[in-house]
């Protein structure tokens, strides 16, 4: 009895794909720096505004377009109506990150459901579903989103939906491909032989095994979405005053960059650093999770 437990305890713990991936990610210095930077940005965006004596809305006509200064506590300066840019940049970050996460979640849900169903069902259903994806793929969607914003008012909820609805196409393709190869594996065969219903096979066995690809894809989708939102805001079609986002701030800053370059520099830097971090983390995760590259070594 005790002997058996001892052998079990002494046996090396199995290494899952995730253990390998995590180790490999930890050795990737660029990705780890990106993670640290990203966390800093998130913490700043969440708690930074508490540090400042100013709020998002109040204007101060005596301090219009002030350069950054420690003594006035306008750490990032003020904009052309005297609002504090430190607070606005961080609030803008909340919106940008929120849009990024929410819209990615939308595209994730649609994409996984669509891709897994098509891949698992196969045959005519698969062909039909993927044909729909192909057709939608050829649409100039950015232009449709601009139209949506113009016609239906500039509300943030619409941005989630519009952006999420574009990005699910890639997700669906990737998930379908993975599902096709998973479908032929023995454990799926076993589940089918055991009488598990197709819906449950997809839900319990296929989807959890897609997680690796999905995680990589999510970290690469979030920056894309943030980019789309800031693109819209830049055109004046995204988030509306007095709320703001990084794109809207960059737009405002670009108007006055000759006289008040800080109004462009701070939001632009935050936006760029965030996108940079997501892209690096996504890249690192892909390298870490991609079994093809394992033999090549880092």
């Amino acid at each position: 009895m005790t002997g058996a437990t001892d052998t079990l305890a002494a046996a090396p713990r199995g290494r899952s794909l995730w253990d390998d991936a995590f180790d490999s990610l930890r050795r990737n210095r660029a990705a780890m720096i990106a993670v640290a930077l990203m966390l800093t940005v998130v913490v700043l965006v969440l708690f930074g505004p508490l540090l400042s004596p100013y709020d998002l809305y109040s204007t101060d006509w005596d301090r219009i377009s002030q350069p950054p200064s420690v003594s006035t506590a306008h750490w990032f300066g003020t904009d052309d109506v005297g609002r504090d840019l430190f607070v606005r940049t961080l609030y803008g970050g909340r919106i940008s990150l929120l849009v990024g996460l929410a819209a990615t979640a939308v595209s994730l849900l649609i994409g996984i459901a669509w891709g897994a169903t098509a891949g698992y069902a196969g045959g005519r259903i698969d062909q039909l579903m993927m044909r729909v994806v192909d057709v939608l793929y050829a649409m100039p969607f950015m232009f449709f989103v601009i139209l949506l914003m113009v016609f239906f008012g500039r509300n943030i909820f619409l941005i989630f939906v519009a952006v999420g609805a574009i990005n699910w196409l890639d997700m669906a393709r990737i998930v379908r491909g993975q599902t096709l190869s998973l479908k032929k594996r023995e454990f799926i065969e076993a589940a089918r032989a055991g009488g598990v219903s197709p819906v449950n096979i997809v839900r319990r066995h296929i989807v959890p095994n897609l997680l690796g690809v999905v995680v990589v894809y999510v970290t690469l989708t979030i920056p894309q979405v943030i980019l789309v939102e800031s693109f819209l805001s830049f055109l004046g079609l995204g988030v509306q005053e007095p709320m703001t986002s990084w794109g809207a701030l960059v737009n405002d800053g670009a108007q006055v960059m000759e006289t008040a370059p800080w109004a462009l520099m701070f939001p632009a830097t935050f936006l760029a650093v965030t996108l940079f971090c997501f892209n690096f983390i996504g890249d690192g995760l892909r390298d870490a999770l991609d079994p093809r590259d394992r033999s090549a070594g880092g």
């Binding site: 737009n251 800053g253 462009l264 632009a268």
Partner: protein, 306 residues
């Protein structure tokens, strides 16, 4: 090859129909019409305006009329610029956008492939790391952030180049917009080229070529470059779409009178026919471009079954 081309063209038809229907539906369900103004128009005038533009017909009939028009190359009159047709507006805006976008794609290809190849040849050296870090930065900085910075540096501070407009059409007016438009694509193409070049350089036939004593130059230009370019060619479709979208912002920032500006202005003025015309035009353009890319892809890699 011919049957393949024909089949590909045929399969583009449903895509085109969906494009037209989607654009049409979207614009028609939109609240607010082209004749909204501060003053309420007298009902009989509004009715006559609607009749003149066939807005009083049932929707399916309007759609049919529109389809017929599109087939004849007639995109209708612009609601905003009353004296022009949409086709004429596209005719004046597109050459400008085409020059901008075409130059941007060429620049992106030339620089992207060169940087990617050099990085692949010096894999894991400092050159490689620096090139890829710069490329990642290029991907992460949106072009509407980059464009004002370029203006600030080269037009405002150094005064080397004009800040905007087309002036008398001299090439110096195109330099900054083209660079701003091309930079993100340069970054993508450099990363793609590096990846595929590394894969090709690892393959057996390159090792054989090396063993036979061919010079690096012969190996790269004679044997490695063509297969390494296959993924780049398939990226050209998305790249073209990206440049079209990017041109909307870039034309806005640099005050270039191209199609992207018409689109934004048209959308803000609810100029239905103009906006629809631009979307359809761009949609057709992208579909055609993807068709050409597929042909090129097949020519480069005959194993591909599409």
């Amino acid at each position: 090859m011919l049957t393949f081309a024909l089949r590909r063209l045929l399969s583009a038809i449903p895509t085109l129909l969906v494009l037209l229907a989607l654009a049409f539906a979207l614009i028609r369900v939109a609240p607010g019409g082209p004749f909204d103004s501060e003053k309420q128009l007298p009902p009989e005038i509004e009715a006559r305006l609607n009749a003149a533009y066939y807005l009083d017909e049932p929707l399916w009939q309007q759609f049919g009329r529109y389809l017929g028009g599109v087939l004849r190359g007639d995109l209708g009159p612009s609601f905003q610029y009353r004296e022009y047709t949409v086709a004429e507006l596209i005719g004046t805006g597109f050459p400008v956008s085409l020059r901008l976008g075409g130059l941007a794609i060429l620049l992106a290809l030339a620089v992207g492939v060169a940087v990617g190849t050099v990085a692949a040849l010096r894999q894991n050296t400092r050159t490689d790391h620096v090139a890829m870090a710069v490329a990642m930065t290029g991907i992460s900085i949106p072009n509407f952030v980059l464009a004002p910075l370029l203006v600030l540096l080269f037009a405002v501070t150094l005064r080397w180049l004009p800040a905007g407009g087309l002036g008398d059409g001299g090439p110096e007016h195109l330099v900054l917009p083209v660079i701003a438009l091309a930079l993100p694509q340069i970054a993508y193409i450099a990363r793609l080229t590096r990846g595929s070049m590394i894969e090709v350089l690892r393959s057996d036939y390159i090792r054989t070529a090396r063993a036979q004593g061919l010079s690096s130059r012969e190996i790269i230009f004679g044997h490695a470059l063509k297969p390494a370019l296959v993924p780049i060619v398939s990226y050209l479709g998305p790249a073209a779409a990206g440049i079209l979208t990017g041109s909307v912002v870039i034309e806005q920032i640099f005050g270039v009178p191209g199609l992207g500006r018409y689109f934004v202005q048209g959308a803000l003025n609810r100029d239905y026919t103009l906006v629809m015309g631009v979307v359809v035009f761009y949609g057709v353009l992208i579909i055609l471009f993807n068709f050409l890319v597929d042909l090129a892809y097949r020519w480069l890699d005959p194993r591909v079954q599409l």
